[in-house]
């Protein structure tokens, strides 16, 4: 279990903040601490970041280190790889995961492969941030949740901050990683408010976190659906169903120990993820649980994912397409039987 899950100790000073501000503080801290670090992407500078994450950083760090790029995803992601090879610590922002497909060749064939192809000579200490997820009626081309799909690629680490602590702390750890790290920020979390330890800083990015302990089943999720899973657990508690909620935090590599350990205890699991169902991350989790805990299971591992459809614009259809508290509760009740 990770430090980010620790209970607030009494007497500690905390600050009111948002997910967006926590991300910004993390970037600011990294820029101040290490002059090899710079932020590069479309509209990170004078616009302030398409979701205002980097607002104000241009004024503090100037256009060299808060570097606006033209619309050229493949070139500036690849340039981030090259700059990392040459000793810098780039943070490349791709506005949203939907556009990252244009840079996928650079991510898979260079960032993830250079170390191996070169026999260990060229590691790529690159961090790529992007917004992911649906839920804001942005329709088919702006609503993908592909982080679980990216987790198929060897040679990169995938993290998905779901809490203020992780929004604040994952970047520093990612920047210390000698290899590429992709950070997926869910678009519906930017305005999430809460309190954060005033001294909050780097967090581990190796372990999943148990966000709520429980006995009767394990809800496994991450990122944008953690809140829904916790709400579902609350609802289930009302019917005396005790659900443990695991926040994966890092989608590659997966923390089998925490996941399997929990399911061995609860003997039931529901995986919740906002990606399309077939071939999504939930399938991998289901397969691992089958391989490592089949005979502990009282019921099949259930998957609550998005409908396999390019996301429609209207709210009622989008809500029907996405995992919801109700659908999680229903799936949990079914596996508990």
């Amino acid at each position: 279990m990770t430090t980010t899950a620790r209970p607030q100790e009494v007497g500690r000073t905390t600050v009111e903040t948002t997910y967006r501000e926590a991300l910004r503080e993390a970037i600011r801290e990294a820029l101040r601490a290490d002059d090899r670090v710079f932020l590069m992407g479309e509209d990170v500078g004078s616009y302030g970041g398409c979701f205002a994450v980097s607002l104000g950083l241009l004024e503090e760090f100037g256009p060299e280190r808060i570097r606006d790029t033209p619309l050229s995803e493949s070139a500036f992601v690849g340039a981030g790889i090259g700059a990392a090879l040459a000793g810098l610590r780039p943070i490349v922002e791709i506005m949203t995961v939907n556009f990252s497909l244009l840079a996928l060749d650079q991510i898979m064939n260079n960032a993830a492969s250079l170390l191996h192809m070169s026999g260990g000579q060229f590691n790529v200490p690159l961090v790529v941030r992007m917004t992911t997820g649906a839920g804001r009626q942005l329709a088919a081309q702006h609503s993908h949740s592909l982080e679980g799909w990216y987790a198929h690629i060897p040679g990169i680490r995938i993290v998905a901050p779901a809490t203020l602590e992780d929004a604040r702390g994952m970047l520093a750890t990612a920047l210390r990683d000698p290899d590429p790290v992709l950070v997926f920020e869910h678009g519906s979390l930017y305005n999430m408010k809460g309190t954060l330890d005033a001294a909050a800083g780097a967090v581990d990015i190796d372990r999943a976190a148990v966000r709520r302990p429980g006995e009767d089943l394990t809800l496994i999720t991450y990122g944008g659906t953690l809140g829904k899973a916790l709400d579902a657990a609350e609802r289930l508690a009302a019917d005396d169903i005790s659900a443990e909620v695991i926040d994966l935090r890092t989608l590659r590599p997966l923390d089998d120990a925490t996941i399997i350990g929990s399911v061995r205890r609860t003997r039931r699991a529901v995986v919740v993820d906002e990606g399309w169902r077939s071939g999504g991350l939930s399938a991998e989790l289901s397969a691992r649980i089958m391989e490592q805990a089949l005979f502990d299971l009282e019921a099949p591992v259930a998957r609550v994912c998005s409908a396999e459809v390019p996301m429609p614009y209207p709210r009622h259809l989008e809500e029907a397409a996405l995992p919801q508290v109700e659908t999680i509760v229903r799936a949990a009740r079914d596996v508990v039987g």
Partner: protein, 335 residues
């Protein structure tokens, strides 16, 4: 003498039509801004206010069978192309009566009957479609033209380069309509491109390319007619750099911090609607009150469209996964 009057009459009707189209677009966009602020429509909404002359002038030069490939800032293109106002507005509300059954929303307007192939929200993503539509027409011996709209920012994408080369190499009937409004979101032209003369860049592919005053609907229409004629005649693609400006923020989501207000007001001095009216008055083609009458007329239509849209049905939730694959049976091909 009477022929001269007839001509004048035709000219008046034509210019009045252009004016009405621009007024309709502007009113539609203003309505969208209000509706968005009132949270009655959602998603990303990109308005076209200030750029009306471009869509209006280009589409005026197109034929019924021609294709139009557009972007996420396409309300103006759609209305100028003649897509039914009620169905376009219904799409903003995500209604079943929308041009895309409400599944697309503001960024994904489609209408096969008008050869309107979207509504593409990945910058540059429409360009390859335009090349393919034109390729099909060429291979099938149809003399259609494909008009492809995209912005100055799209010119930096690799797909722009690949598509300019392909269209020029194969001499395909594409009219590339680059809406240079000087910004890609908050990024000014000079921060997007090493060479900011976009017509010059396009001509490096061996494509006929020239800049056009995109605030002057007559200049746009004239350029478009010449371009369409070349393209349809088999002369290969033509690139028009339409120099224009968006008065409003990039999207309803954009706080617009990156430009100073003077720049915006300076451009408003060259408002395309005012400019056309001035021109028509000069030529005594705009009787007093006409502009006001037309403005009122389109306002009523837009208000009516909003009302109809809000009453219109939604797609049933059970139909969520319709249109992921086609409902028609696989065709049986001879042989």
């Amino acid at each position: 003498m009477s022929t001269r009057r007839a001509q004048e009459q035709r000219r008046r009707e034509h210019l009045t039509g252009l004016l009405r189209t621009m007024l309709l677009i502007r009113r539609f966009e203003e309505a969208c801004a209000e509706l968005y602020s009132a949270a009655r429509i959602r998603g990303f909404v990109h308005l076209y206010v200030g750029e009306e002359a471009v869509a209006t002038g280009i589409t005026a030069a197109l034929g019924r069978d021609d294709w139009v490939v557009s972007t996420y800032r396409e309300h103006g293109h759609a209305l100028a192309r003649g897509l039914p106002l009620d169905a376009v507005m219904a799409e903003m509300f995500g209604r079943q009566t929308g041009v895309s059954r409400g599944r697309g929303g503001s960024m994904h307007l489609f209408d096969r009957a008008h050869g309107f192939v979207g509504g593409n929200a990945v910058v540059g993503g429409g360009l390859p479609l335009a090349v393919g539509l034109a390729l099909a027409d060429r291979m099938q011996g149809r003399d259609r033209v494909t008009a492809c709209f995209f912005g100055d920012g799209a010119v930096a994408e690799g797909e722009f380069h690949e598509c300019m080369n392909l269209a020029a190499l194969w001499r395909l009937p594409v009219l590339f309509c680059c809406e240079n409004n000087r910004y890609a979101m908050g990024t000014a032209l000079a921060k997007e491109h090493a060479e900011t003369d976009l017509a010059l860049r396009a001509s490096s592919y061996g494509v006929a390319a020239w800049p056009v005053d995109g605030m002057d609907v007559l200049a746009v229409e004239d350029a478009a007619r010449r371009g369409v004629e070349d393209v349809r005649g088999g002369g290969g693609p033509v690139f028009l750099e339409l120099r224009t400006y968006r008065y409003r923020a990039h999207s309803m989501y954009d706080p617009d911090r990156y430009r100073d207000k003077d720049e915006i007001s300076a451009w408003k001095e060259h408002d395309p609607i005012d400019a056309l009216c001035a021109r028509m008055r000069q030529d005594a083609l705009l009787p007093d009150g006409t502009r006001e009458r037309l403005a009122e007329e389109v306002a009523c239509l837009v208000d009516a469209a909003v009302e109809v849209a809000e009453q219109a049905p939604l797609e049933p939730v059970e139909d969520l996964t319709r249109f992921v694959t086609s409902e028609v049976e696989p065709e049986v091909v001879a042989g």
